[in-house]
Symmetry: C7
Subunit: 75 residues, 7 copies
């Protein structure tokens, strides 16, 4: 059976996710919410560069149009 993209996102609520945005930017945090446009709410968000944290942002709403991919992350 096919898994719907929004179902995978729903199943990632309260878990760590890695989100890549256009322009090769990578954010890591806990997924707290989303909507059908792939707008995302994340907590404890950190921006990464070369897999290292270089900035702490905290609570954040990301506009879905900027998302390249979202990956649940066991960390």
């Amino acid at each position: 059976m096919a898994e719907k993209p929004l179902d995978l996102i729903h199943g990632s609520l309260e878990k760590n996710v890695l989100v890549e945005l256009r322009g090769n930017r990578v954010f890591r945090g806990i997924l707290k919410g989303y909507d059908q446009h792939l707008n995302l709410v994340m907590a404890n968000t950190e921006e990464l560069a070369d897999d290292e944290v270089f900035r702490k942002i905290g609570y954040i709403v990301i506009r879905g149009a900027n998302v390249v991919y979202l990956a649940p992350r066991s960390l």
Copy 2:
């Protein structure tokens, strides 16, 4: 329970927010309003560069299509 992106934005009304726009531009101000396109109204808006204020803009309507993320900011 999932938190809706627009609910986090609604909960940020009258608070300080940091908004990043395409082209690595960062605005800080008090969120005064929004709509479902993520168009934003902000007061006391300042544009930042390297976390320093380099321009004061004041009242502003930002077109949602330019928004990368919005972060409530305790400051």
Copy 3:
């Protein structure tokens, strides 16, 4: 209470506004009209560079898709 983006724009009619477009272009003029796409009508429009007027355009319709932000301007 939240202020709707289009309400701030409506409240700026007949006033000086600063409009930034994609590509770091800045126009200043008197807001004469708008629609829900953020298409704008402005009079006495001038294009600025480094806060100096470098071109007078006069009456103009700006296509909303190019707008980054609009700021009412007391000048």
Copy 4:
């Protein structure tokens, strides 16, 4: 009273207009028609560079998505 963007365009029919397109391209001609997408019909169209005519194109349909602004032009 607010002036609707399409009304200014309608009022420019049969008059000289200056149209700037994305990529800093400027066309001048007589506005002959338009639709709600800001697709434009122009006659006697010339492309300008540094305010000089460098190419005559004649009748033309411009796709609205490329328009940055339209300015009626008394010339």
Copy 5:
């Protein structure tokens, strides 16, 4: 009276047209069809560079989203 953009395109059927696409590409050919998205069908299509033919493509469907302008061409 205003002339509708799609009417000018309709009136160009079976005639030579010049079509400029994003990226400064110019195609010339006989317009054979179109739809409301400005998708175009052209026959005997040639790509031009500096007003010279440098490539013959023949029958072609152009996706409207790439079109900057279309000009009927008496040649």
Copy 6:
């Protein structure tokens, strides 16, 4: 009579087509299917550079938003 863009595409089913995508990329293959968004299914797809095959991809679904043009190709 005008020829509809989707009709030309429909008439190209099971034939060789050349498809150019944004970024000056050229694919050649046998058109197996399409939809109204110009998403395309192609078989025996090869990517070309300077009219030479430099990569074989085989079966492929191309997202319509990337298409610049499609040309039926007698080869």
Copy 7:
């Protein structure tokens, strides 16, 4: 008979696929799901560079707007 793009994608469920995204990025993995926007769910996803694996990502939701093409891959 024409093959619908979404049917080819549906027929690739649980199989290895190669997905190219804008910016010349290539992902390989097992297709687990999709929706009508071409949002994709993939498992065991790896990012490739010059046909070599240079990063393992695992489970992932790719936003359809970034997809250039999807190719089922017998490997």
